[in-house]
Symmetry: C2
Subunit: 194 residues, 2 copies
Amino acid sequence: MQTQLPIILASTSPRRRELLQTLGLPFTVQASNADETVAEGLTPAQIVEELSLRKAKATAATLKQGLVIGSDTIVVLDGQVLGKPADQREAFRMLASLQGREHFVYSGVAMVDAKTNQVEVAHSMTKVFIRSLTEREITAYINTGEPMDKAGSYAIQGLGATLVEGIVGDYFTVVGLPLQLTARLLTRFGIFLL
Amino acid sequence: MQTQLPIILASTSPRRRELLQTLGLPFTVQASNADETVAEGLTPAQIVEELSLRKAKATAATLKQGLVIGSDTIVVLDGQVLGKPADQREAFRMLASLQGREHFVYSGVAMVDAKTNQVEVAHSMTKVFIRSLTEREITAYINTGEPMDKAGSYAIQGLGATLVEGIVGDYFTVVGLPLQLTARLLTRFGIFLL
């Protein structure tokens, strides 16, 4: 493992921080206050790439040097983007619409070298199957509090693991930071994990 | 969540302990010294179910009451079972054979009620794709030490995450304890997580 550039994660998500720690690279955290509204008509892939890039660029703009990593994750059901639920009613509606079928999770990763302005951005997509849930189960899950700050109202790495029948693709894309893609993008800045 | 029975995990694997903690149930750990050799000619599904059951039964036999959970995981490539590598040479051989293609991971879960002797056992299977790896990358990965105590010589929840292109099925089956299956089996003992 050879790394010269200091790495900065432009996110306060404890899940992203934990995932990035898996790679064994030293890094610091400096969240950006990037605006998260996007233009109408973008595809899910375009949305997560644009938001990842916006986060990375906003943090990079405040630094003289360093490799800034931004990431964004959305849940997509029948072409509709599900964000974080505003309240328990919305969480209930989301989980009721996700249960018994498949949906897609998109995660973007962007890297910006604050000194050279080299930019790399990509995304990955994973299909997720949620098992059939009764209204009582959905309510019980909401009452655990877990759904409230999660895109799509569930956490695959938490109690939500018991709701997921299976996935097709990369697990870490669903948690919020695609590790294989992150490792691949790092090589474009001369950082090799293996 | 309603639980009367004390739950005992018949495994010292820190990974299984961490996964079981995800479910939010209190439990204790009491590993069994069950023999792990199996008869020739068993299918992968039969192997993981038999070993899971043997572990759970061995621990249950020492207890007056409680629900004992046993689990076993194997990696299967072209019908051949890959266990934990004996040394770095074997780890290299395994990783060289796994790279650039798909294999299967089987995990069994068995539960034994020490008082009533009610027994439930099942397994789940997940397909895993490992990306192409150079010999240099395989050696670098072995040098991290991560492969040495893992079936198949990789850890999907560690730096090995960067080797896995994707999976089809349940992620936790690959880590070593299928959480959805575990939650399902618990309901047969009157323990409902949601």
